[in-house]
Symmetry: C2
Amino acid sequence: MTVATIKAITLEEFLQQPETKPASEFMNGQIIQKPMPQGEHSRLQVKLCTNINKVAEDVKIGYAFSELRCVFDGAAIVPDISIFRWDRIPRQSSGRIANRFEIHPDWAIEILSPEQKYKKVLANLMHCAENETELGWLIDPEDESILVVFSDRRIQEFKNSDRLPILSEFELELTVAQVFSWLSL
Amino acid sequence: MTVATIKAITLEEFLQQPETKPASEFMNGQIIQKPMPQGEHSRLQVKLCTNINKVAEDVKIGYAFSELRCVFDGAAIVPDISIFRWDRIPRQSSGRIANRFEIHPDWAIEILSPEQKYKKVLANLMHCAENETELGWLIDPEDESILVVFSDRRIQEFKNSDRLPILSEFELELTVAQVFSWLSL
């Protein structure tokens, strides 16, 4: 007689699976597919990347990537935006950018989608904080608030004219109201 | 010509309204009614109150109340369980317990219901933390985890055999697994 067992998938097995679209994430043995991005989500994602890279790329202090898989500490997550300080961007020996990012971002941004679980997105940012990601932003377009997760796992909600915390070397000033004003065309 | 205005309700006006069942909460000018408690919720609520009071009441170090309205810092919330240290329990001049609790609990416990918004419950616990509540527990029966919000707004997730943080004077040891084992009769 044999006993049926349910085989839990490992991170390595997950990484060998074909990519899905939207991307799938892996944490605590679970695979969860991200929701299909919609208008508000895409608008904020592009606007934020553009504004961050405007102050970070030319001066080579950092770069904001969208939908980049980051594999670290037993999980594979795909933050909506992952910002890395310039010197931490993984490179191949040729100097070209690496394809696999096996380190935590310095700053991770998640934009909540209507059908997405708040807890799941917060768990991603907590995983980042526990691995020394300096800043995590959880943007909630529905109530126009941004929850910031700091690297010591403190959380703080920002609203209206609150100025948002940014990586210190980045010469960028942004209020919550400015971020959500991008939603009005 | 007159201009129509939408009048926002104040905390005082909210408090003058008749009580609802389930209770309604007031924060940031918004009234939100709590969901109707279901089996798992009620079981955990009673089990926790009983276990906390077993170590707290006779020795007069504190008391766990269920569904108690706490009004402080511009909001009126009704945590599923509010624990007060004995000396902080509001009293009338006769020595009897007060009816209106206009102070923050020392420890607040929220039990997530299936239809309840994670963010709303977390916001209650953040409001508590910002007002010096020492411990906030957010119990999620679905994935058997407990998120703890500390008074410095740090958050930490506890699972499985993790021992839960308790108010220091309370001689109680509880793991996450123990709490959820109460769900099996």
